[in-house]
Symmetry: C2
Subunit: 321 residues, 2 copies
Amino acid sequence: MILEEFLKKNAEEIDMELYNLFGAVSGELNKASAHLLLAGGKRLRPAVVMLAAEIIRKGSSRDILPAALALEVTHTFTLVHDDIMDGDSVRRGEPTVHCKWDEPTAILAGDVLYAEAFELISKTIAHDSAKIKSVEILARTCVEICQGQHEDMTFEVRDDVDSYEYIDMVGKKTGKLYAASAAIGGILAGCSLKQMSALYDWGYHSGIAFQIQDDFIDLMASSEKSGKDRASDLREGKQTLVAIKAKEAGVDLSGYRKENLTDEEIEEAISKLNKAGVIKEVEDIAMEHVKHAKDMLIILPECEERKLLSDITDYFITRGF
Amino acid sequence: MILEEFLKKNAEEIDMELYNLFGAVSGELNKASAHLLLAGGKRLRPAVVMLAAEIIRKGSSRDILPAALALEVTHTFTLVHDDIMDGDSVRRGEPTVHCKWDEPTAILAGDVLYAEAFELISKTIAHDSAKIKSVEILARTCVEICQGQHEDMTFEVRDDVDSYEYIDMVGKKTGKLYAASAAIGGILAGCSLKQMSALYDWGYHSGIAFQIQDDFIDLMASSEKSGKDRASDLREGKQTLVAIKAKEAGVDLSGYRKENLTDEEIEEAISKLNKAGVIKEVEDIAMEHVKHAKDMLIILPECEERKLLSDITDYFITRGF
């Protein structure tokens, strides 16, 4: 199966399951919790959970479906809270929860999703020992995501962030949840420790590549295409890898740090970055993580799902603007 | 052992364990997470976890200590987020997390504690099936606490809240976490379903009594004694049981809904409430829940720890201002 087909089918299945669970909730808090969860998305983390499980044990993805949902719910909880902190007003083409409702409701909506993620893990059909191990990994991952988000915020008021700090930060903020998705899928399907470790590392490095690409998308894609405010990183002067490498290359982006940035100004910035070789340099770093991630898969049983996991890594850095 | 001695010894033990876990953390986010956790408190929820476990299996409280900490950590996470929503500046005599740091850090600090609670459950020495059941109960409880907090906020802009809605709200906001504390202590020590149900109901009704008393303390205790701003409920016009019963009795409290309330004005309000029989009526409702709670304990093995659990219920409505 080609990746595109798989992801489409998987997203439809996850959308349906989420709709069954959260589509008919009553009360404003539950509606606020369901809002972003039901606003679509590529459902990449559930796809990773399902594929990792299938690699380890054919037919296991049906049993561990609640865990796949748990990883999407966890991701959504972090987005709801991040949007408050970052002051973002649009996500997946919808108003963010704190804009549609209010900040207290958005804090609680995120907290509700947080709990529901752990509840979903507990409802998976798997050995209790595998479920407890999954709870432990998911909990540690949530701590690391929070640390990554906090570092991301502190980077905004620093001007000396280097590329190693950036990679470590996005590793926590994005890499760890892909790592947990793959590892939890494998664990619940009964993988060995060595397999778990390989799946975890695959997810971690794929996630870093994903986040580097995400920063490119923020810079290059139109608001209509990305469903988010365009170039918010540039406007806010965020310390993305592009910004760090731009600084190293002597490209001054400070003039673009303003609220109302026109598309022309954004194009001008991209042109400067291209000329200075910054875009190429950042792409090369992403490619290193892609290679590292794909190398991890070699110890796993060769099968269609392993190929799809490998294709996902490629997709992470080729998905369009 | 008398309750006071037990609670003192338990609080010292829990303080020490929390200090060992969170006392030497580095980084601002981890410090913000540890701040309120290390600011003392009566450690009542861990006490309940430990007692429930001992009732079911003598000597089990040592094994399930991480779960006792998990319940305190959960409680602390809810306080950190609630303080943001309620705009409170002082808690346990310390500045609240969002005041000492900032709102984004406080959101993340609560999120970190949230994950650590589940991680602690996974580290308990108990059967995996008991741990997964505990995860499930804790997760559902967190959803209910959020719902209770959201209802509490919506009550502020309503003037038709009745006492049944209030009891249901505090049952979610406070009762359920005591219920979970008792049930999880019992489950991890190997209790039967019937025993779990009794422990859960004991905690639920004790917690309701606790919250009614907490509202009294907010009204009557000095800031120095409670470690919180005095009479914040009165100032904010919160729909406490006192306020609801005052309205039913024709006592107008709207004049006290202002930022700078003097101690004389607070005493005047209390005097009006006493004269109208409101205080007595609310105390009677609390006593009904105390009786219900204590009745639940009868099916459990008779022992010193069962007596202490019963004494805790009494303590909940007698603790001073």
